[in-house]
């Protein structure tokens, strides 16, 4: 047992680490099925845009082991899983809008039999012409919402007055979540139409609501339980179709049903990251200071709204990254395409907005033949002036300068920048590149009401603690960190706190574990519950033992200390029980200070900002486009970290995920809307040998949250993903070396070997000097 009860600022393994390595950590598919459990599979559309003329399921029904087949006619209530807006039918009725759209489902005696059965459907389609690309959607004005325009100052005027002008466009690609545990649910019907739902989801309360609406039942009849999920990354924030269809199969058969998507179906049926295209025009002075910027920002949203509205909003809120943009105008186009609905993915649009501005800054630097480091620094938000964002929020916690300074020293950037230029002069085929990029990322759900959380804490008469809260454990270690906070607050050994499954019947109306805010919100709610119980205990002790001291007691080493009086925790808790004192409490938290007018696009959408920066160095092979990451240095602000090892894990893991997004991960669709990259053989995420050869990650030593967040920590959920922007711009730097930095490379993300080689070919053959025009 660990006798150190100072559990915060303490590295300790993930609460499930021993179970993970022993194969004993239970995921939804591992839950033992009661006898009579059936197994599901989904039958889906093979066309991306079509009218269903006829659907014949006779062969499916007759298929071996099949006990039930359901389609839209079997849904008693709402046939939609859209979380905010309608548009995501559980089963299509007449039309299909993407390749992979569910049409029906079966329950059979085994998963294998169910999967075989769904292939036997005979569907007649009337094909319509799909819209698959952003360009096509823009051309046909196929948008989900009206064009959103935000502005500050007068960008057009500023640009026309600027000495220098650049125009261009830039795309960042989609990305598949590739959580290792695919979408899966297990539903068990109970008495009184109650339904117990185990679901691999980041959002149990929404699963509960969607199922209750689908079944026309009250929410109180549906209970959703989640012990842990095998990765989420946003891919399980919505995507409620698996749990809903599973529940419908249980409703129809009155049997427990398990439904898991195999990897191919998972990738084909569920949403991915939004591809974004930015078409920009920027005016700047000879130093590189941006004077005016106009951007047309278009995203590929897929066939329905899902969370695209909020994702695009976050893109608009991060189009500044760490830079002060005096005159800015952005038009935002949410393109509707016949592809699976694009959805939440770590970064949530913020990263795409940030890549757009980083690309602009990079091009400005290359145009002016300056080190991009200098131009970035020059455009940074400042302390006392130039500190208001384009949405009117004053930045009060800016540490990007300090982080850059520390990173500059640590990475030896300047010297290596020069060395690389010398190396490239001598090396004919292998070229090196280096880049430094900053991250400023806003923390809070931009939909203000979501910034709330609940918790439930019990002390049992033996002094052991039961902890429950609304957060989902998806690998980030939120359960570990919140247990550390609770143990610390009670002055108890960590082992005294029992972590339990997230459960909609224990903590209701929770928000998704998303927006990097799970521990911030749920940790604070848990501490609120602890505080309430402590008050009961203290009141009891004070009256029983006649303590009149006004000072707060100290909880330490399993004791409660009132001045020189000491009470053993276990004993006093038991005593409190016999004196009829409540030892259980719910807790609640809502984030203060934030408010945001979505229409006017002004306010304070974020409680605080996370900062970080990275330097990456790459080598590219100019004959093949292959590339390797030689070295990465990172300084990242985790505030006053609750568990530095877990934060380090988030920083490194986020970085590699970002590296994948910007280098090798490529989602491809055919012109007819069929996705062609739906398995690990065609969709490549980084493997062990792809990580930087030298990887130096430092948690910012001066980090502390100015705001009153638990332990003065800062989240490390999403922000580290954006540290990988440095990899992309290092590759671009290496490409530029091919023409001795005289021209600006045209390179879109992901920088795959193919895109790199084609970029090299283009830049070599390009006649024009300097910038590229329209």
């Amino acid at each position: 047992m660990n006798n150190n009860q100072n559990h915060i600022n303490q590295s300790r393994p993930h609460d499930s680490a021993i179970k993970h390595v022993s194969g004993l950590a239970e995921y939804t598919d591992d839950i033992k099925e009661p006898p009579g459990t059936l197994f599901g599979a989904i039958g889906w559309s093979k066309k991306s845009k079509a009218i269903i003329k006829k659907i014949n399921l006779e062969e499916v029904k007759k298929s071996e082991g099949v006990l039930a087949v359901v389609n839209y006619l079997d849904i008693p209530g709402r046939n939609d899983v859209g979380p905010v807006f309608d548009g995501d039918p559980i089963f299509s009725k007449e039309k299909v809008e993407f390749f992979g759209q569910p049409l029906f489902a079966v329950a059979a005696k085994s998963t294998e039999l169910a999967r075989k059965a769904v292939l036997k459907a005979k569907v007649k389609y009337k094909n319509l012409k799909p819209i698959v690309t952003i360009e096509d959607a823009l051309k046909k004005n196929n948008l989900l919402f009206n064009v959103k325009k935000i502005s500050r100052g007068n960008a057009s005027k500023a640009i026309s007055k600027s000495k220098n002008l650049l125009k261009g466009n830039f795309t960042t690609g989609s990305q598949e979540h590739f959580y290792l545990e695919g979408q899966v649910a297990f539903t068990i019907p109970k008495e009184d139409n109650e339904l117990l739902v185990y679901s691999s989801t980041q959002h149990p309360s929404e699963v509960q609501q969607i199922i209750s609406k689908m079944l026309n039942q009250k929410s109180n009849s549906i209970t959703v339980l989640v012990r842990r999920i095998g990765g989420g990354f946003g891919g399980k924030e919505t995507n409620f179709m698996t749990a809903s269809i599973c529940a419908l199969l249980s409703y129809k058969t009155k049997c427990p049903v398990k439904l898991k998507l195999d990897r191919d179906d998972d990738i084909i049926l569920t949403g991915k990251r939004h591809e974004f295209k930015s078409i920009y025009e920027v005016g700047f002075n000879d130093d590189g200071v941006i004077e005016g910027l106009k951007v047309k920002l278009a995203s590929k949203c897929g066939m329905s709204p899902d969370l695209s509205h909020a994702i695009n909003e976050r893109a608009l809120l991060h189009i500044d990254n760490a830079y002060y943009l005096k005159n800015l105008e952005v038009e935002n186009y949410l393109c509707k395409t016949n592809t699976s609905t694009s959805t939440a993915f770590r970064g949530f649009g913020g990263n795409q907005g940030m890549m757009a501005i980083e690309n602009v800054i990079d091009n400005i630097s290359r145009y002016l033949k300056k080190d991009p480091f200098e131009v970035r620094k020059l455009n940074f938000y400042q302390k006392n002036k130039k500190n208001i964002t384009h949405y009117g929020m004053k930045i009060e916690d800016n540490v990007i300068d300090k982080i850059f300074e520390r990173l500059l020293k640590k990475s030896n950037y300047k010297k290596r920048y020069d060395q690389i230029r010398k190396y490239n002069l001598k090396s004919k085929f292998k070229k090196k590149g280096i880049a430094i990029t900053p991250v400023k990322f806003g923390i809070s759900f931009t939909t203000i009401h979501l910034n709330q959380a609940g918790a439930l804490v019990h002390i049992y008469t033996d002094g052991s603690i039961h902890l429950n809260h609304g957060g989902i454990e998806m690998g980030q270690g939120t359960h570990t960190k919140i247990a550390q906070l609770v143990a610390h607050s009670f002055g108890l050994p960590y082992e005294k706190v029992q972590i339990s499954s997230t459960n909609t019947s224990k903590v209701p109306n929770t928000s998704a574990s998303a927006a990097s805010s799970t521990t911030d919100l749920n940790g604070a709610a848990a501490l609120n519950a602890v505080l309430k119980i402590k008050k009961n205990l203290e009141k009891f002790i004070k009256s029983k033992y006649k303590i009149f001291d006004k000072k707060d007691p100290i909880y330490k080493d399993g004791h409660i200390l009132f001045g020189n009086r000491s009470f053993k925790f276990d004993k006093i808790v038991n005593e409190a029980y016999f004196n009829r004192v409540s030892l259980s409490s719910s807790g609640f938290y809502s984030t203060p200070k934030i408010k945001f007018d979505k229409k006017k696009f002004t306010g304070r959408p974020f409680y605080y900002f996370c900062y970080g920066a990275a330097v990456s160095e790459v080598t590219i092979d100019t004959l093949t486009g292959e590339n390797i990451l030689n070295r990465v240095d990172i300084v990242h602000d985790a505030g006053n970290a609750i568990n530095p090892s877990l934060e380090l894990g988030q920083i490194e893991g986020g970085f590699i995920q970002g590296q994948g997004w910007l280098t090798m991960e490529e989602v491809k669709w055919k012109a007819n809307g069929e996705i062609t990259t739906f398995s690990p053989s065609t969709y490549k995420i980084p493997a062990a040998s792809d990580i930087p050869k030298e990887f130096n990650v430092e948690i910012f030593k001066e980090g502390s949250n100015k705001e009153n967040v638990v332990n003065k920590s800062k989240t490390t959920g999403e922000p580290p993903l954006m540290l990988a922007m440095s990899v992309f711009f290092a590759i671009k730097d290496a490409v530029a070396s091919v023409v001795n930095y005289k021209k600006i490379p045209i390179l879109d993300a992901p920088a795959t070997p193919e895109n790199i080689l084609m970029s090299i070919k283009e830049i070599k053959n390009r006649k024009m000097n300097g910038f590229y025009g329209e």
């Binding site: 390595v21 022993s22 959580y179 290792l180 695919g182 894990g649 090798m664 490549k684 062990a688």
Partner: protein, 478 residues
């Protein structure tokens, strides 16, 4: 006599299954029948490693530990082996194995779903290597994907194993296991289950008998391609003949001017031998697939599958390898350059099987091969180029060039070769030769690469080959 039951060692006991379903995967079996759910399904195609288990195999009175993908291995293949699952790593008293401890200590798990697979890959690495370096780690982990950690802590955990005692409870129980493995009778296996048949003959003679008797059977080696018919296409393989039990097909023989590799030699064994003769052959095989894949897949399997992107094929073609076919009419030799006749079509006839492959050892030639893919490890080629040149005093005497990924079959670049043969070894000639590649090939656009890129990179590989020879220096970044 043949047996209709399979036997394997599990938890220090011999387990028997009578007529198991030959299409059931080991993954489904351990999760559904053995009720051990630590082994996970991540992709059902051997591409993510979440399902990694380890098989103990008896060899020269020793146990060899092989990590494999249980999601693409059929149950009968377990016959005669020791099955080791993640749950078996923990000792009976609950003590974690060194490998497990290292993963905990170095924070190697986050969501934990990929973790059992990583632990099993590391366990096999730990058992098979006396000391562990970065190359061994990268290779051992190349078939395991993690989406949370970014791998650094896992790699650190693997590195830390060097300092630990090797002795574990598998060493402690070694003699029990050896005894049990030896006890499992080495019979031919013949299974009939749900209208499906499975044969695992022990000898070539027996194999020929079965081939005579059973028509339209699928020959199964590593199964890394064939099993996808079941796990992805949901088809049934009604008749399977497994070649992995035939010891006569598992050999590597060295002659003066050639090396002969038996059909069921695994790539992991083959790569170690070929390294002595053609370093680039070894380099490509390392990137052919993960350890889990290379532990089971065979050179003959790669040839018979005839995939346009089978990585060993262009190499064998450039080296002018010969395929020895056996069957009812006895052995015959077919040059590999005449073997492929169309998309996934070969000259292999019903009832025939590949006996071996003979690769010439060319002492005066320069052999180079390059694989281009989106990811270095465990990826399928966009383009794989192979160059075999004989150059004498700046004069190209012979040139054999073959590419994968450039056509519906792996193919020689005959027109390009013609430019080079009997020409001066110069940049000018190579430049000229690159232009001919477009006459040799018209590749396609697919999810891996565009036609344009394939042509471009193929040309550049030819140039890379030239500059590497000219400068006597490798121009590679990895």
């Amino acid at each position: 006599m043949s047996s209709n039951k399979i036997e394997f060692v599990f938890q220090n006991k011999v387990h028997q299954i009578l007529n198991p379903d030959p299409n059931e995967t080991v993954l489904n079996f351990v999760r559904s029948n053995l009720k051990k759910t630590g082994t996970k399904e991540g992709c059902a195609e051997g591409g993510c490693g979440a399902c990694t288990i380890v098989l103990g195999e008896l060899k020269n009175n020793k146990i060899l530990y092989k990590s494999i993908n249980s999601c693409i291995t059929f149950v009968p293949v377990l016959n005669g082996k020791q099955l080791i699952l993640i749950e078996n790593l923990t000792s009976e008293n609950g003590k974690l194995h060194s490998v497990q401890n290292a993963m905990v200590d170095y924070h190697g798990s986050q969501c934990g779903f990929c973790t059992p697979g990583f632990v099993m890959s590391m366990f096999a690495m730990f058992k098979n290597n006396k000391s562990i370096n970065n190359e061994i780690i990268n290779d051992s982990l190349s078939g395991n994907l993690c989406r949370c950690t970014g791998y650094r802590p896992i790699i650190d955990a693997a590195k830390s194993l060097n300092n630990l005692s090797r002795y574990d409870h598998f060493d402690k129980d070694k003699f029990i296991i050896l005894r049990l493995l030896k006890k499992i009778t080495k019979k031919n296996i013949e299974i009939a289950s749900n209208n499906k048949k499975y044969f695992a003959p022990k000898t070539i003679k027996e194999l020929k008998k079965i081939l005579n008797k059973v028509k339209d059977a699928k020959l199964l080696s590593g199964g890394t391609d064939l099993s996808l018919e079941v796990t992805k296409k949901r088809k049934e393989l009604e008749k399977i003949i497994y070649l992995g039990s035939i010891e006569e097909l598992n050999f590597i023989k060295k002659y003066k001017n050639e090396i002969e590799i038996g059909a069921s030699t695994t790539l992991i064994n083959f790569e170690k031998q070929i390294k002595k003769y053609y370093l680039d052959f070894y380099n490509i095989l390392k990137r052919y697939g993960s350890v889990q894949i290379r532990n089971v897949c065979t050179i003959a399997g790669n040839i018979a599958t005839a995939s346009p992107i089978g990585d060993s094929l262009p190499l064998l073609m450039a080296l002018d390898a010969k395929i020895i076919i056996d069957g009812k009419n006895g052995k015959k030799i077919i040059p590999i350059n005449n073997f492929f006749i169309g998309y996934r079509k070969t000259k292999l006839k019903q009832g025939d099987f590949i006996y071996s492959v003979k690769i010439p050892i060319l002492k005066h030639n320069i052999f180079k091969a390059y694989k281009i893919s989106k990811r270095f490890d465990d990826d399928i080629s966009s383009v794989c180029g192979s160059f075999n040149l004989e150059i004498n005093k700046n004069h190209i005497k012979r040139a054999k060039i073959a590419f994968g990924g450039m056509s519906e079959v792996p193919k020689r670049a005959i027109k390009t070769e013609k430019i080079l043969i009997n020409s001066e070894f110069s940049e000018k000639i190579f430049d000229k030769a690159t232009k001919n590649l477009e006459k040799d090939f018209s590749p396609i656009d697919d999810m891996r690469a565009s036609k344009k890129y394939r042509i471009e990179v193929a040309k550049n590989l030819l140039l890379k080959c030239f500059f590497e020879i000219k400068n006597q220096k490798l121009l590679r970044i990895n």
